[in-house]
């Protein structure tokens, strides 16, 4: 079963002559373990797609199906609690790492678990496991400001994986890293996707990272296409 299916997703900002189509009939699907690279220039709609999939922005039209649950079809599904859904089902990795600056690496990871109702001990244990898994266990007690860029990104990935989300959305996770560290982060995301059965969408405009992704999609003017194919390609990422 697919983790995520998106059909003809459209997002238009503004109205009339001033309207801007940020997403233009975007369609794709993701299965467990997929690591999708999403490339495109600034303003092409990459972040809008992430925000829409995060249930932060409401689409103008289209369909979003998460697992067997239809989240959007001409409006959000009734009873959908966006924050709770994000907390339980989506992990986020940000460009600027976005760790809470006054929490240690361990506390940053544990926070995601505590928000989801885990006990303090369980959250600490799971945070330690994840930090070890991402090879930053020895830095668990350090504050974000005391970590290198690469270490911060690993902690951010650990936080994203804390609640074992089905979908991980990574926004420019390698932007502040050199090529070697950037590829290492992509490798970690791929490993995490495989080991945890998650799907990962990684937005980047860094062409050097292409080699790390299973599939590379490109966005231009709100339209999504497989790398090398200029036409919109609904349902082409089939499993």
């Amino acid at each position: 079963m697919n983790i995520l299916r998106v059909d003809y997703l459209t997002k238009v900002f503004g109205q009339g002559d001033r309207s801007v189509t940020a997403l233009d009939a975007v369609s794709f699907s993701l299965a467990p373990g997929d690591l999708m690279g999403l490339l495109g220039p600034s303003g092409s709609g990459k972040t809008t797609l992430l925000l829409t999939l995060s249930l932060v922005l409401e689409p103008t039209s289209g369909v979003i199906v998460f697992g067997d649950r239809e989240l959007y079809r001409d409006g959000w599904a009734s009873g959908l609690d966006a924050r709770r859904f994000r907390r339980e089902s989506i992990g986020f990795v940000f460009q600027g790492h976005n760790l809470i600056p006054f929490l240690t690496a361990r506390e940053n990871v544990a926070l995601a678990l505590r928000l989801d109702g885990a006990s303090r001990q369980a959250a600490r244990r799971r945070a330690a496991e994840l930090l070890d898994y991402l090879e930053v266990g020895h830095r668990a007690g350090a504050l974000p400001a005391e970590l290198s860029g690469g270490e911060q990104q690993r902690v951010a990935i650990a936080r994203a994986l804390a609640n074992e989300p089905k979908l991980v959305l990574a926004d420019e996770p390698t932007a502040s890293l050199d090529t070697e560290r950037g590829l290492k982060v992509i490798e970690l995301l791929k490993r995490a996707a495989r080991d945890h059965g998650s799907a990962v969408i990684t937005v980047t405009h860094d062409e050097r990272m292409i080699a790390g992704f299973d599939t590379v999609w490109r966005m231009k003017d709100g339209r999504l296409s497989l790398d090398g194919d200029s036409a919109s390609a609904p349902f082409t990422f089939a499993h």
């Binding site: 995060s54 907390r87 986020f92 504050l143």
Partner: protein
């Protein structure tokens, strides 16, 4: 996980500095509270501690505190003869500026009948009451005098035989108690040059009227003699007598003004103290408002600093109460810690303050509650800012 306390723990220096700053402001608020109450307390101290049933002063005047009152010294004997009066005693009060203990000090002198219970200090912190008609005094501890010390007032030395604590006039100045004759001498005693000049002038006037020789010698002492006056007569009414009836008898029979202690207190509160009380009350209210505004601004700045973290929290699914708690808890911690520190500062230093500070528990608790509640309401600005922060801000959108 308590995000607010973790933030405080990781930025201890900044929070402590902020708390100290707000604490100093709270200390000023509490000082104003203390001054407001102290102003009233000082203002009525002498009236209440004198424990007279009636204050008899010059007719048509609001003396002896709100304005000057001069009545003949012997009028207390007439008052004592009014039915219902158990005791009557002369009373005199005025302020002087003298060098005491090596520095110039503003002091209020109280002259009372030392052989009558009325008018003297209610209690002593050290020493004894005045037992001689002359050259003994009781001083308040604010003056820094000890038992056995002597000070010069006018032409005589006066020895300290007793010390009071907290005996002040309506302006917070320390009191000196003297016998009535001594108090009159200090008040009316002129220097020799002035006396000589006055005698020459009197003789010149008598000569102009045609007196000379033996007549002049007989008349001159009479003309130059000062007739000492007092400010008021204190009255203790007999237990069986009605205070109002006695007061009415004195007003009608002796053509003097009679105030009960509560009327004298009202005169003081509505007269001399009213403006200062209003000013202090206004300052007190303004400072509370300023305190709340500053706390609100601090919380707002603390919130704005955390906007990206708040957006991240929202994006990773933190419910609103987690974010509201983060802000409100810091507001409460900041306000309570600052108020406690401010109170401790004032409690430790209030006795060294130049004016009497009266910190009533109710005032302190009420002020703390108002500032805490105001600070929490004001920090809603920060909460509003936080709740308006879109989760998309975490992605830089």
């Amino acid at each position: 996980m308590d995000l607010a306390l973790q933030d405080v723990r990781r930025h201890v220096g900044r929070f402590v500095t902020t708390i100290v700053g707000v604490a100093l402001l709270q200390a000023v608020v509490l000082t104003m509270n203390g001054m407001y109450r102290g102003n009233v307390s000082d203002g009525v101290w002498l009236i209440e501690q004198t424990r007279a049933d009636l204050w008899i002063v010059e007719r048509g005047r609001g003396g002896p505190f709100n304005e000057q009152s001069r009545i003949p010294q012997q009028s207390y004997r007439s008052v004592a003869a009014i039915p219902g009066v158990a005791r009557a005693a002369p009373f005199l009060t005025y302020t002087i500026e003298r060098s005491i203990g090596g520095r110039s000090q503003h002091v209020t002198v109280v002259g009372y009948d030392v052989f009558n219970v009325l008018g003297g200090p209610p209690t002593l912190a050290a020493g004894r009451m005045i037992s001689a008609a002359h050259y003994e005094l009781i001083a308040d501890s604010k003056l820094g005098l000890d038992i056995g010390d002597s000070i010069r007032l006018g032409v005589h030395e006066y020895m300290v035989v007793g010390v009071t604590h907290g005996a002040v006039d309506s302006g917070g100045n320390p009191l000196i108690y003297l016998s009535v004759p001594d108090a009159q001498e200090v008040l009316y005693q002129q220097d020799n040059e002035a006396i000589r000049a006055e005698r020459i002038e009197s003789s010149r006037q008598l000569e102009a009227l045609g007196f000379s020789g033996a007549q002049l010698e007989k008349l001159a002492p009479l003309v130059n003699a000062t007739r000492p006056t007092i400010g008021a007569v204190l009255v203790a009414v007999a237990p069986s007598a009605d205070v109002d009836i006695v007061a009415q008898a004195i007003r009608g029979g002796l053509r003097l003004e009679a105030f009960t202690t509560s009327q004298q207190r009202e005169l003081m509160l509505k007269g001399r103290l009213a403006r200062m009380t209003a000013i202090l009350g206004l300052f007190r209210a303004l400072l509370v408002v300023v305190s709340i505004v500053i706390i609100a601004l601090l919380i707002y700045v603390l919130t704005v600093e955390k906007v990206r973290s708040i957006a991240t929290l929202k994006l990773i699914g933190a419910p609103n109460w987690v974010i509201v708690r983060l802000i409100m808890e810091q507001s409460v911690v900041l306000t309570l810690a600052a108020f406690t520190l401010g109170f401790a500062l004032i409690a430790m230093t209030k006795d060294r303050f130049p004016r009497t500070l009266v910190l009533l528990p109710f005032d302190t608790v009420a002020t703390g509650a108002v500032i805490l509640a105001g600070g929490m309401v004001a920090s809603l600005v920060g909460v509003w800012r936080a709740l308006r922060t879109p989760p998309s801000a975490a992605l830089g959108a």
